[in-house]
């Protein structure tokens, strides 16, 4: 399935520079008051950085389908943990518990 993919140093360097730029971006945006969107912007940039690291540095884009499925499954389970618990906490006040 996986014949060896050797990415060029250039590819890795571009990803690395992009990661540094996004770090600078997220840090400077934090000083502007965007209301609730501060969290949204910070986490969106974090998700982009995670995707770059996972797809390129961790070679997920060259991985077998099974590995990709395991990665997605893990993220799904994490989403269940976070979303269901926060849904509970966010809605408790509605019925005054």
């Amino acid at each position: 399935m996986t014949t060896e993919h050797v990415d060029s140093v250039k590819t890795y360097a571009i990803v690395w520079i992009a990661l540094l730029i996004m770090t600078a971006l997220t840090t400077s945006v934090a000083y502007f008051d965007l209301g609730r969107f501060n969290v949204v912007v910070a986490l969106s940039i974090a998700v982009c950085k995670m995707l770059l690291v996972a797809l390129f540095f961790m070679h997920v884009r060259h991985s077998t389908k099974l590995t990709k499925l395991v990665v997605l499954g893990g993220l799904l389970w994490l989403a269940i943990l976070l979303v269901l618990t926060m849904a509970d906490f966010a809605t408790r006040s509605w019925i005054g518990v």
């Binding site: 996986t2 050797v6 890795y12 600078a24 540095f57 077998t64 943990l81």
Partner: protein, 221 residues
């Protein structure tokens, strides 16, 4: 044939059909381990989210005492270490032993710089009495009680992350030793690849810790 990985015979264990299948199996196993780590850290991220939504003002005030500049620079250090790590894996793919050594050493140094800076930040917290416990002190409404929650989570999350970095430094040292003994070649570099996955995973955890702990409440002060 069960034998130690060797330069000329890249140790194909008997249960696998091919070296490629063996490598895919290692990779899959490592990812399954990393998923358990995701869930481990996930619980802490969840605790942080719950308490931050319960005491938003307190968490904001406590978060603003952290030093963003140091945090951002340390993030950059860690991203650089991921870059050198991936270059070490690439050197492994190409079987260039000298390059493997150089990039592993660079990754090791950057990892230790990160830990050093983290230690400096923790020391600051001790001096400012921001460590949860009897000597904790913070002025402001509700801060004395609930800001300790923030700092408990801060120390637990950054501490667990730092512990993973320490383990990573140990793994890198072991790789350097193995590389020195000529264990790795283009046909067999799986350990470098696996430690690389681990190192990048620890990097990803920090990618989330940095905005959540340092950034998202910065503007309100």
């Amino acid at each position: 044939m069960i034998s130690e990985p060797h330069v000329e015979s890249p140790a194909l264990r008997e249960q696998f059909n091919s070296a490629e299948q063996q490598k895919d199996a290692s990779s899959l196993g490592m990812w399954v381990f990393l998923i358990t780590e995701v869930m481990f850290f996930g619980g802490m991220f969840l605790a942080y989210s719950v308490y931050r939504s319960t005491y938003p003002a307190v968490f904001g005030a406590a978060s603003r005492t952290l030093n963003t500049t140091i945090g951002a620079l340390n993030t950059a250090v860690l991203l650089c270490s991921s870059f050198t790590m991936v270059l070490a894996v690439r050197a492994g793919q190409l079987g260039r032993r000298k390059q493997i050594m150089v990039f592993l050493i660079l990754t090791l140094i950057l990892g230790m710089v990160f830990l050093g800076v983290k230690g400096y930040e923790w020391n600051e917290k001790f001096q400012e009495h921001h460590v949860p416990g009897p000597s904790f002190h913070m002025d402001g409404p509700g801060l004395q009680d609930h800001a300790q929650l923030f700092f408990s989570l801060y120390f637990a999350m950054t501490g667990l992350h730092a512990l993973h970095m320490v383990v990573g430094v140990g793994l890198l040292s072991f790789l350097l030793y193995q590389n020195q003994r000529g264990k790795f070649s283009a046909a067999y570099y799986t350990p470098i690849d696996m430690v690389g996955l681990y190192w990048h995973f620890v990097d990803i955890i920090w990618i989330y810790l940095f905005p959540l702990l340092y950034l998202i409440d910065r503007h309100g002060g």
